[in-house]
């Protein structure tokens, strides 16, 4: 297969990584409007969970819980006081992210740690190694789970109600505080799952979160706040764009091109791919 055709599956697999890191953000940023800069550190927490357990499959649910509980604590302790000041949460959570990074450095040491990849992920099909296919599978599973949760469960539908109109949801008897807690728990937990998957392809160290956070936000912004299908489409599109831009130029330029395209795209669709219609006066 010619090298440029190889870039198609590679682009999809980059898209899967983007989707996985952004999936949690569609909850916390997308649904709740909280710019959680510590999202990257929740990913890092997931990766370190995999390091501590030494077993990838076992780490998936544990990392979900660990990162989820971290998110829950953050939400209860601080973020819930900030729902009317979204920009302040950005700075607050950046502070949290700094503390968590330094904490990781003190707990696990500054050097990267190694998470052994399971032997059944060695090898691959064509250009795609099994570990990339695993990540793609995980991304698909994550999207399906989120979709089912949002549309097929009572809690999920309540979440959507709160997103669309908080006051009305509250008056209808929904405990918005509980919904917020749960949403944050799930969003952060998904970051933890992403962290476990990333140990297959990247470094595991205190700086891990910083490598992914900007990309994750770009996906959510391009996809449209709170839009699952938007995030999926944006992740795939950005993955393919990245893959081909890098193939025909170089990695540095590809990054700049991706930024430029997102900015240009927001000129056409300022609210992202899909927009949640609302009549709320801002």
């Amino acid at each position: 297969m010619p090298a440029f055709l190889n870039q198609l599956p590679i682009g999809l697999s980059i898209g899967a990584v983007l989707l996985l890191i952004a999936l949690g953000l569609t909850f916390t940023f997308g649904q709740m409007g909280v710019i959680n800069m510590a999202h990257g550190e929740f990913i890092m927490a997931g990766a370190y969970t995999a390091f501590l357990l030494g077993d990838l499959l076992a780490a998936l649910p544990v990392a979900f819980l660990v990162a989820g509980v971290m998110g829950l604590v953050l939400e209860r302790a601080a973020i819930r006081h900030f729902y009317r000041r979204p920009l302040d949460t950005l700075l607050l959570t950046w502070g949290v992210s700094l503390v968590l990074q330094q904490l990781a450095r003190d707990l696990f040491g500054a050097p990267n740690v190694q998470v052994p990849a399971p032997s059944w992920l060695a090898g691959g099909v064509g250009i795609l190694p099994y570990n990339r296919l695993f990540i793609m599978g995980l991304a698909v599973a994550g999207v399906v789970a989120v979709w089912v949760y949002l549309t097929r469960t009572k809690l999920g539908r309540r979440t959507q109600a709160v997103v669309q109109n908080r006051q009305l949801a509250a008056t209808s008897g929904i405990d918005t505080g509980r919904v917020d807690m749960l949403t944050f728990f799930i969003g952060s937990g998904l970051a933890g799952v992403a962290g476990v998957a990333l140990t297959l392809i990247g470094p595991v160290g205190p700086a891990l979160g910083t490598y992914y956070i900007v990309d994750a936000f770009l996906v959510v912004v391009a996809g449209g706040l709170g839009q699952l299908r938007g995030a999926v489409l944006a992740a795939i599109a950005l993955g393919l764009l990245n893959s081909y831009a890098e193939f025909w130029s170089d990695a540095s330029l590809a990054k700049v091109i991706v930024f430029a395209v997102v900015i240009a795209f927001l000129q056409v669709r300022p609210q992202g791919l899909f927009v949640l219609r609302s009549r709320v006066l801002t």
């Binding site: 940023f29 409007g33 710019i35 601080a78 006081h81 900030f82 000041r85 979204p86 920009l87 302040d88 950005l90 700075l91 607050l92 950046w94 502070g95 949290v96 992210s97 700094l98 503390v99 990074q101 330094q102 450095r105 003190d106 900007v214 936000f217 770009l218 912004v221 540095s252 330029l253 990054k255 700049v256 930024f259 430029a260 997102v262 900015i263 927001l266 000129q267 300022p270 609210q271 006066l281 801002t282």
Partner: protein, 338 residues
């Protein structure tokens, strides 16, 4: 009027006169550096505190100013190609560099370059009513992209190293303590003038309109004003300040590099403004100086501690004193009088 300006005047006089006398040259240089950051912070205070535009990419404008100045300084040395071009394998001075041999052009670009970029960006973004979190993330992405661009063009910009090793500014030896003292006075003076000008702007009708846009953009639009224009102009003003600060920063500190204008330094300044108090311009200035000093002092004491402390400070300020130190001081005073 005089009474109200008295405290500011006192601080200004102390800073201008006392600091060069009291501080040894190394510390005075540091203070000059903080004051450069304070100029950027003033711009952030204007754009964010007054206008509600959380800009996380002020480093980009700071960098444009800094690089313009650095290009002039490199060319003013004489002796052919700048050092980094020699080891990057560039054989002829790139066309982009040629006009920067002129100090007027270089200084002009240091301010007008950022202003122009902000005008273009602001027009594009604010016309489309991109705001709030979107705007913040876009400016952050801009800072990230700018760093990658600068690093990638090593022959043109010095790559990750940036530019350093400057010798003289307008014929003055930069290594001399007297030059550094003079530079300090210039920086302090510029900060003072810009502070007064910004205050004047904020208290004008325009300033009130800006605050109105911050608090209810749609309502302002319904009243017949154009919020996009107001925001764009303000954003451009803050960008110009950042550019000027960058141009002053380079001779004071002696280096400009992509590390100085990326996501993290841009965010650190926003945090400094938040800590000082975003709604008061004095808070922004104070925050930048205090945070700059804290960083130097704490990193001399314990390296990792700075990160904990910076993180903790944000969390505390955001939760307990959202109006920053200035707001806290105001609250204390009110508590005392009642």
């Amino acid at each position: 009027m005089i009474r109200r300006h008295l405290p500011f005047a006192t601080v200004a006089v102390i800073a201008l006169v006392a600091a060069p006398l009291l501080l040894e040259p190394f510390r005075l240089g540091l203070l000059a550096k903080y004051l450069c950051y304070a100029i950027v912070a003033l711009g952030i205070g204007l754009a964010w505190g007054q206008g509600g535009m959380l800009t996380l990419g002020q480093g980009v404008f700071f960098g444009l100013g800094g690089y313009s100045m650095a290009m002039y300084l490199k060319l003013a040395e004489g002796g052919g190609l700048p050092d980094f071009m020699v080891w990057s394998g560039v054989e002829e001075l790139p066309a982009l560099w040629v006009p920067f041999a002129n100090p007027v052009f270089a200084l002009g670009m240091a301010v007008l370059g950022p202003v122009a970029l902000a005008l273009v960006l602001g027009t594009l973004v604010f016309r489309q009513r991109v705001r709030g979190a979107y705007f913040a993330i876009l400016t952050q992405a801009l800072a990230a992209a700018m760093v990658i661009l600068l690093v990638g063009q090593q022959g043109l910009t010095g790559g990750t190293n940036g530019m350093t090793n400057f010798f003289e500014l307008f014929g003055q030896d930069l290594a001399e303590d007297s030059t550094q003292r003079g530079l300090y006075l210039v920086v302090a003076g510029v900060l003072g003038v810009l502070y007064l000008a910004t205050r004047q702007l904020v208290q004008s009708r325009y300033g009130r309109l800006l605050v109105a846009v911050r608090d209810g953009e749609d309502r302002v639009r319904f009243l017949g004003y154009d919020p996009a224009l107001v925001k764009t102009v303000t954003f451009a003003a803050s960008a110009g300040m950042a550019g000027l600060a960058g141009a002053l920063f380079v001779p004071v500190v002696g280096i400009i590099s992509p590390a100085l204008l990326g996501v993290v330094p841009s965010l650190e300044l926003v945090v400094a403004v938040a800590v000082g108090g975003r709604h008061a311009l004095a808070g922004a200035v104070l925050g930048a100086v205090v945070m700059g000093y804290a960083k130097t002092a704490l990193s001399e004491q314990f390296a990792g501690g700075w990160l904990y402390l910076q993180g903790a400070l944000f969390i505390l300020v955001m939760t307990l004193a959202p109006k920053g130190v200035v707001g806290l001081a105001g609250r204390l005073r009110r508590a005392r009088t009642t």
